[in-house]
Amino acid sequence: MTLTAADVAEIMRLVEQSKFDELSLEIDGIKMTLRRGGASGEIIRNVTQSGPAVAPVARAAAPSAAAGLGDANHMDITSPMLGTFYRAPKPGSAPFVDIGSAVDEDSVIAIIEVMKLMNTVRAGARGVITQILPADETLVEFGEVLMRMRKDP
């Protein structure tokens, strides 16, 4: 049995609907951890895996990804909510991250502002930022890919 992108999307949906905060699943050498957290109801998607059967999950986490497909070490960071995407903590200051920046799980990579409420987005994994997709200060939708990163092995 193999896990398809649709299966993973469905599992993520079920976790979102459930009252559980975390799900760990191991099927056919694919290890997946889904975690939701944050007091504000922010959903952090954290898909990690080990073993060779890695590609389907990477695809599932990033259905719209054009780059990094089939590359186990690439991961998409998606927006946990609809809002305005800010790359820097305030106008004129240095961005949280740039292409080539090293990040770890808890590194703040951006702010999403919803009706003047600032929400931080974290990398969710250790690695290096390879791509930043939305322009600064533009609308991003829920689930939109914000950045791509190469995870540390």
Binding site: E16, T84, V114
Partner: protein
């Protein structure tokens, strides 16, 4: 201001319905969707789609901040809330006002006043409209005193209530304390407000409601009434207009009562005043007012020719209330059935899933409001309404015949539906006579045990 672009903060058939009026008015549509509705038919029809959150309503369709933010960011002038979700929560008009977005509906203050059922009762009394005997029940002692005064059977209702939640029927006084606890828990969970009130229960009542439109400055008109007595567990299944068998005096009294209530609060936009009509006499009582467009609004549109969504948009925008009472003419009869993805032979259990194929009816006097096409996915997260089939005709007999033929023409595969239940109602002599009370569905089941499904009917399926 002129409204050129509207964000629709809803889903399903009502999103498609609002979009249709926007198209006719040459207004652009931004549709706010959850992650579960990205691929739906309304999303395909919209000029622009924004995903506001995860499938769960609390993360998307109930997220007022995300919705208003999306409206501002996409350049929308106004938000239409549809029904359900945020349509009767003051937070949405409040955030709209802060962001300079027009809210297509009543004011936040009106939503609060009408949403508090005790306040609404007080408004009705001030407007000289009878209310069902009852009142507040803040403590057990207060509830027991009141219950003795108004006598059983009685209903426990949630002050912040709606949709049957927190509603309990008390037939014997000794059951009151336990049911009060249960109702308070349910109301607290559903509305975040555990306050309760009691009303005497009118067993043989008909549910009749009056459609109103107000300009927000005290001018109010009505567009006739709808009879929604065919209900199962307080959920409406069939609605029709005019209400069969009312005397001209009673009909006029109901309509004038609704107008007085809406006038008293200078109601703005489309609203509905619900009454219970005692079938043993000509008595009627105010039940509640709904500060939104209702699911069953198309029957009113079918007989008056008025596009209620377009009127809501006109009132919210620059045009105001364009209709005068004398300009509203009602012709013929209209009846609507709600087609739900529910297994009516199995306790009306929801039946979400993928629609394999669907054929909706068409023909003289037939209107179908739906978002469902072949291949549509019916997600499990929301209500199960697939479509509303509305039939109209010069008289009730012909409207019923058209609806029956339309249902026979309808084919739905992939999910269970309640079409068979609707056929049973339309074939039933008591319903055909007209003027049934809210106890009707129970009587129908008593006559037609086969409607309960194979197991309940005692037929072995082994």
């Amino acid at each position: 201001m002129a409204i050129r672009r509207i964000l629709i903060a809803n889903r399903g058939e009502i999103a498609a319905r609002i979009m249709r009026s926007c198209r006719a008015l040459n207004i652009e549509v931004v549709l706010a969707v959850s992650a579960a509705d990205r691929e739906g038919e309304p999303a395909r029809l919209a000029d622009r789609v924004v995903c506001i959150g995860a499938a769960k309503s609390a993360d998307s369709y109930l997220n007022a901040a995300a919705i208003v933010h999306a409206a501002v960011a996409t350049g929308a002038d106004a938000i239409h809330p549809g029904y359900g979700f945020l349509s009767e929560r003051p937070i949405l008009p409040q955030l709209c006002a802060r962001a300079g977005i027009v809210f297509i509906g009543p004011t936040a203050d009106q939503i609060v006043a009408i949403g508090d059922k005790l306040q609404a009762r007080a408004v009705a009394e001030t407007a000289n409209v009878p209310v069902v005997p009852g009142g507040e029940a803040n403590s057990r002692a207060e509830a027991e005193n009141l219950a003795r005064k108004i006598s059983t059977p009685l209903l426990i209702k949630a002050v912040a209530g709606g949709g049957g939640r927190g509603l309990k029927l008390v037939e014997r006084l000794e059951d009151l304390p336990a049911l009060l606890d249960l109702a308070a828990a349910e109301a607290g969970a559903a509305f975040g407000d555990a306050r309760l009130y009691l009303e005497h229960y009118i067993g043989r009542g008909r549910h009749v409601e009056v459609q109103v439109l107000g300009d927000g400055e005290g001018r109010v008109i009505h567009l006739g009434e709808r009879d929604c007595s065919v209900q199962r567990r307080y959920q409406k299944l069939i609605e029709e207009t005019p209400a069969p068998g009312l005397t001209a005096t009673l009909r006029d009294s109901l309509q004038q009562a609704a107008v007085r209530i809406a006038q008293l609060i200078a109601y703005r936009s489309a609203g509905t005043v619900e009454f219970i009509v005692d079938t043993r006499g000509d008595a009627f009582y105010f039940l509640e007012m709904n500060a939104r467009i209702q699911v069953e609004h198309p029957v009113t549109e079918a007989v008056t020719g008025v596009d209620l969504i377009a009127e809501q948009i006109a009132i919210a925008g620059a045009n105001g209330l364009r209709l005068r009472q004398s300009g509203v003419r009602s012709v013929g009869c209209a009846i609507e059935c709600r087609v739900n993805a529910e297994d009516y032979r199995n306790e009306f259990r929801p039946s979400p899933g993928r629609i394999r194929d669907v054929t909706w009816p068409s023909g003289e006097g037939i209107r179908v409001d739906t978002h469902v096409v072949p291949g549509s996915n019916i997600p499990p997260f929301y209500d199960s309404l697939l479509a509303k089939i509305i039939a109209s005709g010069p008289d009730r007999t012909r409207a019923l015949a058209r609806l029956r033929a339309a249902i026979a023409m309808t084919r739905i595969s992939g999910v269970a539906s309640n079409l068979g239940f609707h056929t049973a109602v339309l074939d039933d002599a008591e319903f055909q006579t007209g003027g049934v009370d809210t106890g009707y569905v129970d009587r129908l089941y008593a006559r037609r045990p086969d409607l309960r499904g194979l197991r309940a009917a005692g037929v072995s399926n082994g």
